[in-house]
Amino acid sequence: MIEFRNVSVGYGTSPVLRNVSFTAANSALTVLVGPNGCGKTTLLRSAARQLPLLAGSIQADGRDAAGFERKEFARAVSFMPQMRGVPDIDVYALVCHGRFPHLCLSRHMTAADRDAAERAMERMGVAGWRERSLRELSGGERQRVYLAMALCQESGNLLLDEPSAWLDAPRQFELLELLKSLAAEGKTVVMVLHELAQAMQYADRIALLSGGALRAALPPGELFSSGLAEEVFGVGLRRAPDGTYYVRPR
């Protein structure tokens, strides 16, 4: 569980977002949406402790996130940033880095660590690539490998910045289904998506950011009826008879 309490974040002293309060619950997929530059990534990075808070606090699993040790925090919260390095290592080696917060000083992988890496690779469907170099993979393939690394951390909370970027449409749907099933298993999944219709389709709860503030944190159905998303994005949001959301120009 990740709880934002009156959080203000930004760069330097000028806040990008002020006074944000909402809770991303266990067993739920929470999606941060908003127009470009509204602070989605900033808020996610602050939850991952990558950015100091200007005010307020963030609770992870009921404890102040600032009070965790580095590795203790990494065992509780995985973070997949938008910008990632592409070192010249093979897929298995990259996924194994997800065990880093679990390793002791000798940095030695135990059998349990290797099992966790295998499970994560199976889950993301990258086990067959284990000997391939990360640099030979396409952007979408790398994305899946990085997600496998995040899963390998075996944390209760996943913070993902645009995890479906680079993926083609069928893989986007597969990924969102997978994240939903992870949430169903009890994990807290918080992610940034820039596609409103997809967010509406898959999220359990949507945090709508705009104008430096949180406009709403509601389940998709309620957000739809409030009309807020249409207003903020400046598009028409529709729901087809089968329940599928889609956007169209106003």
Binding site: R45, A48, R49, Q50, R70, K71, E72, F73, A74, R75, S78, F79, M80, P81, M83, R84, G85, V86, P87, D88, I89, D90, A93, L94, H97, G98, F100, P101, L103, R107, E122, R123, M124, G125, A127, G128, W129, E131, R132, S133, R135, E136, S138, E141, R144, Y146, Q153, R171, E174, L175, E177, L178, S181
Partner: protein, 345 residues
């Protein structure tokens, strides 16, 4: 629900994994050969049997005198400086996330050289002061470049240009010191080019603790440096103390580069060339890359030094000249050939 497997099956050639695993053993064998060659060859060459006979002989044997007092210190100096500069290059490239970083290019060697020369000019009696001063100079230059990179968010190209500026100032300082103290032991032409002709245990010994400390620190840091190479945000997300890992890596590279410069002079190219070649066959896992670079650096410098002794025998010339003459074209061919852009992504 697992995500479906892509049908794409571009794989690393299976030979690649085998080659990576075999690299340390092959390099160790190569180093032993180079060391034997370096002990044998010179203005006077000895057969292997004569070499071993001399090592077993009494102190009066003139060949033993040459081996023990000239060739052993010289060979050790070559191997250790090569290993140290190569590992310093590996660490700086990882910390600065810049394939062009090397102790020579970003001014670390110049910093070490300037302070080594200063110590040798002001404290001519104290041999032990030289490596310590060189270490401080190397650390100062490396930290300066790193802080510039951190504060100003310098791009990779700007970082290298900043390094060239810092290196240029320090090199000017070295030239000024050479004019002011023309007799300083460290300030000879041989020192400027990088040479082993004056190698002696008295110059090597004070630097040994720095080299061993630097190598040990580099090996201990290897797994953390691997995580650092995922990018700052991913590394921090995995619980790595990014700032501490970077600082310790810079410290280790300064220990290594400073120590190497203190007895081998301003050798260029080793710290740039060797890590790149090693990555080609040993991969980017620093747990293997660091020892393999150390071995290859040792082999490379030792062999170059042997060549400087035999090409125009009985005359010789500074090894640094040959290293640059061989290293330059070879590095250019690395840049041009193979997968373009690989060095810079």
């Amino acid at each position: 629900m697992p995500i479906s497997q892509s049908s794409c099956t571009r794989r690393l050639p299976t030979s690649s994994a085998k080659r990576r695993a075999a690299a340390p053993a092959a390099l160790t064998a190569l180093l032993i050969l180079s060391v034997l060659l370096s002990l044998r060859c010179g203005s006077q060459s000895y057969s292997l049997s004569r070499l071993f006979q001399a090592l077993g002989a009494g102190a009066a044997d003139p060949v033993r005198q040459i081996i023990v007092h000239v060739r052993v210190p010289r060979t050790l100096s070559c191997a250790l400086s090569g290993a140290a500069l190569a590992v310093a290059g590996v660490l700086l490239q990882a910390v600065l996330n810049n394939a062009m970083a090397s102790p020579n290019i970003i001014g670390v060697n110049a910093g070490a050289g300037f302070f080594a020369l200063l110590a040798s000019s002001l404290l001519p009696a104290s041999a032990a002061a030289v490596p310590a001063a060189a270490f401080l100079g190397a650390l100062g230059a490396a930290m300066l470049i790193y802080l510039l990179a951190l504060r100003a968010g310098l791009s990779r190209t700007t970082l290298v240009l900043a390094g060239i500026a810092v290196g240029g100032m320090l090199t000017a300082g070295v030239s000024a010191l050479r004019l002011l103290f023309p007799d300083a032991a460290v300030g000879s032409d041989a020192f400027m080019a990088g040479s082993f002709s004056g190698a002696a245990m008295e110059r090597l010994l004070p630097a040994l603790p720095f080299i061993f400390a630097g190598l040990a620190l580099a090996l201990i840091l290897a797994p953390d440096v691997n995580v650092l190479c995922l990018g700052e945000e991913s590394a921090a997300g995995l619980g790595l103390d990014v700032g501490r890992t970077r600082f310790l890596s810079i410290l280790a590279s300064a220990l290594l580069a400073g120590a190497a410069v203190s007895f081998a002079g301003l050798l260029s190219f080793v710290g740039l060339l060797v890590p790149h070649i090693t990555r080609r066959f040993a991969g980017s896992d620093h747990r293997r890359l660091i020892p393999c670079s150390a071995l290859l650096g040792a082999v490379f410098v030792t062999l170059c030094d042997v060549l400087t002794r035999v090409i125009f025998s009985p005359y010789e010339f500074p090894a640094g000249i040959l290293i640059s003459l061989l290293g330059g074209p070879f590095f250019l061919s690395l840049l041009m050939g193979g997968k373009r852009g690989r060095l810079y992504d």
